[in-house]
Every structure is written in C-alpha cells, then in structure tokens.
C-alpha cells in the first residue's frame, strides 16, 4: 500500500486532533468493530483481542473481546508502545520483559503474558492506537501472524474512515444532522458534569430560496459549499460543523465560553459576507446567526438548541446578516 504518509511520531497534538476527527471515542459498541475483534480472537486462539485507541492520558477500547473493561490509564497500556512503532510489537513473555514485568496488567488481572499489537495508522500518518491480541501464556508470534494482524489493523482504520464518511453530509462534508446531534449531546453531558464549557452557533443563509429560484439548485449547492468552507476556515480542529437543514448549519465550539463564541460567529458572518460566488453574478451571500452557550438553566440538548434557535430567529427578524446571542433571558446583538 503506497497511500500512507510517513508516520508523524513527534506530532502528539496532531495525533490527538486526528483521533478526535473520527469522533469515535466514548461511542457505543458497534458491530463492525466487534466482529473484527471476535474474528481476530478466534483466528489467533487467544483469550483477549482489542481495538485500543490511545487518548491523551488513557487507552479506550472501541471493541474488546474477552475482557470486560472499557479503558485503562495510558501509563499501563501495552498499546502505548505499539503506538510509537511503525511495525508490530510482539511480547513473548511479559514477566521476562523489563518494560512490562512490573505492569499491573501483568502482576494482576488479567495476568498478561504474551502480546501482539499492530498500530492503527491513518492515511495522514498518525498512529491512533492498536489492534492487539493478548494471551495469558507465553507465546511467540510468527511473521505470518504479524502480517495477518497488520491486515486486520488496516481494515480497522478503513472501517473508521467509512464510518466517518457515513456521518458526513454528501454536499458539504459537514456532519449530518444526526451526527451533529450526537456530538451536541456529548457536549451537553460534559458541560453538565462541569468538565468543559461549550457553545452552539446556528447559522442560516439569508434569502436562500431566492438564490435557488433565480439561479437554480446547482447555484444553491455552490453557495452551500462556499458557505460551509467559509465556516470551516474559522473553526479550530476540535470544533464541529453540522448541516442541520437545507440552508442551516450548526457549529459546536467545545471548551469555548459565550464571548469567544460570539466573536467566532461574527468572524464567520464577515467571512461569508466577503464571499464572491461566481454564478451569482455579484449577488451577495449573507448569514444570520444565533449563539447559545450551554447554561445550567437549559441543561439538556433540546433546550440548548431552542435557545440558539430563538437567537437566530431574532437575528432574522431584526434585519438578517447579524449575530444574536442568547444568554439566559437576555439577547445581545453584534
């Protein structure tokens, strides 16, 4: 396979951003990944097989067959060694390996003895985690074993890519409404737990029906693509863009307070206003926006979205091409 870049071992922030782009951490079990670990466990005749994704300070298992845990600290993860390798990592007997002899996964349950892990490498060259098989008896793995596991590891990554694309709007590449709702729900739960503030911005293209009626739907599609690209240019890697309706977009800005979100929304508004879409023959494109940060007075997703919606509606009613913020019961317009 020649379409993979060299592995970027030194770029940990880039690796974490790449992992987050797959929007797979802390998601529910999914059949296609569980089938891979089941198959691998059977083929290798081992007690445990896992798809491990290594986050900042933990390894989280997207699928694990043979052990009932969902994550461990990164400090005890065998897969953290695999992460730092371009090749499979094989451990014949962990009790004889100075790297692992004192590891609690060896000295305690599940009493790991042998391990074979292959890094999960993205086409851009980031190792996100590993596909591994684990045994409770010493064992040596052959080059053929390593090749089989490496083949499965490449499948895991292409499966993750297919999954990511299935969550994207075909025209703009933004998240689908459903995928954006999942992201919003997770953000609401984190904010409610006091883990991270988050802000929601709803954008609606002004007079979009006029564009479609006058220049046709292909022109409308070009406007949608241009607007979504203009929004993406203003976002940070961890921010999420969703296409929620025909001409409506949502931005989930995590770890962002209200004043920053308002500033972000205003930058987007200006960027869109500066667009020149050739097929529109000089007609200007603008967006209206409504901003709502997560707030204890509206703890769940529906209330949060409703607050942003009211702000957006106010922006439309008060002349369009402007941003309005909802804050409790107050509205603030730019």
């Amino acid at each position: 396979m020649t379409y993979m870049s060299a592995i970027k071992f030194a770029d940990e922030p880039g690796r974490i951003a790449a992992l987050y782009r797959y929007e797979i951490l802390d998601t529910d079990p999914e059949q296609e990944f569980q089938d891979i670990t089941k198959l691998v466990r059977t083929l290798f005749n081992v007690p445990i097989a896992a798809i491990s994704l290594v986050d900042v300070d933990r390894q989280w298992f997207k699928a694990i067959d043979g052990l009932g845990i969902s994550e461990t600290p990164r400090s005890v993860a065998f897969c953290d060694y695999t992460l730092r390798s371009a090749d499979p990592v094989a451990v014949e007997d962990a009790t004889q390996d100075p790297r692992f002899v004192a590891n609690p996964l060896v000295t305690g349950a599940p009493a790991v003895r042998c391990y074979l892990g292959v890094p999960l490498t993205t086409p851009e060259g980031y190792n996100l985690g590993s596909l591994c098989v684990i045994g409770t008896e010493p064992r040596s793995f052959s080059p053929a074993d390593e090749q089989v596991l490496a083949s499965f590891a490449r499948l895991v990554v292409s499966q993750m890519e297919l999954r990511m694309e299935a969550r994207r709007d075909m025209l703009t590449g933004a998240l689908t409404r459903r995928a954006f709702s999942d992201a919003l729900q997770a953000a609401a739960e984190e904010a409610a737990a006091g883990e991270a503030p988050a802000s929601l911005i709803l954008f609606d293209i002004d007079h979009f029906k006029y564009v479609n009626d006058r220049w046709g739907h292909p022109a409308g599609d070009e406007v949608l693509r241009a607007v979504s690209e203009a929004i993406v240019c203003e976002l940070r890697p961890a921010d999420r863009l969703g296409r929620l309706g025909g001409e409506e977009f949502g931005v989930l800005a995590q770890v962002m307070e209200a004043d920053e979100a308002l500033a972000l929304a205003e930058r987007v508004r200006q960027a869109v206003a500066a667009l020149r879409v050739p097929c529109l023959q000089g007609h200007a494109v603008t967006v209206s926006g409504g901003v709502a940060s997560w707030h204890p007075s509206r703890p769940d997703q529906a209330e949060w979205v409703a607050a942003a919606d009211v702000a957006l509606y106010t922006a439309k009613r008060s002349g369009r091409n402007r941003i309005v913020e909802a804050f409790g019961s107050l509205l603030h317009a730019t």
Binding site: D35, L43, S158, Q159, E161, A166, M170, T176, G246
Partner: protein
C-alpha cells in the same frame, strides 16, 4: 494501490471490478471504498500465506462485508436535508 499478485482463493464477493459502481458514487467516498477493498484483498492474501483454508478466508470476508454493509448503505442512500 498494491501491485502484489492477488491471492489464489479470492472470494467472489471481492473478485469483481469496483469501477462501474465507484463511478456512480460521491467522489469523496470513492478513495475510502477503494482502500477498504484493497485492505480486504490484502487480508485474504495474508490469511492464505498464514495457511488458513479457503473456507476460513471466505467466512472472514463474508462477516466483514456484512459488518460494513450498513455504513455503506447509509452513505449511499443519504437523503438531502429538508429545507
């Protein structure tokens, strides 16, 4: 794209040209599906070289294809958001 020779016992589910139906797909999906197909073929090769029987190989591929069928169908049948 790999230039190695295909496995002797490539399951028929994989032994079809992708081009006709890739051409009908969204451009963004095509490289992802091509990579997944290549990876499935590479898996067949590695299982064969590791000495697994054609029955085992076919069973693996069948299970894996069935697994990602749902994601693929969702991508292909994605509806336009309502205005």
């Amino acid at each position: 794209m790999s230039t190695a020779s295909p496995p002797r016992s490539l399951p028929p589910e994989l032994d079809r040209p992708l081009d006709p139906w890739l051409a009908r797909m969204e451009p963004r999906l095509r490289p992802v599906l091509e990579r997944h197909h290549d990876n499935l073929v590479a898996l067949c090769r590695s299982l064969e070289q590791a000495g697994h029987s054609s029955d085992v190989i076919r069973a693996c591929i069948r299970d894996l294809l069935a697994s990602y069928e749902a994601e693929l169908a969702h991508s292909l049948l994605q509806e336009e958001p309502a205005s």
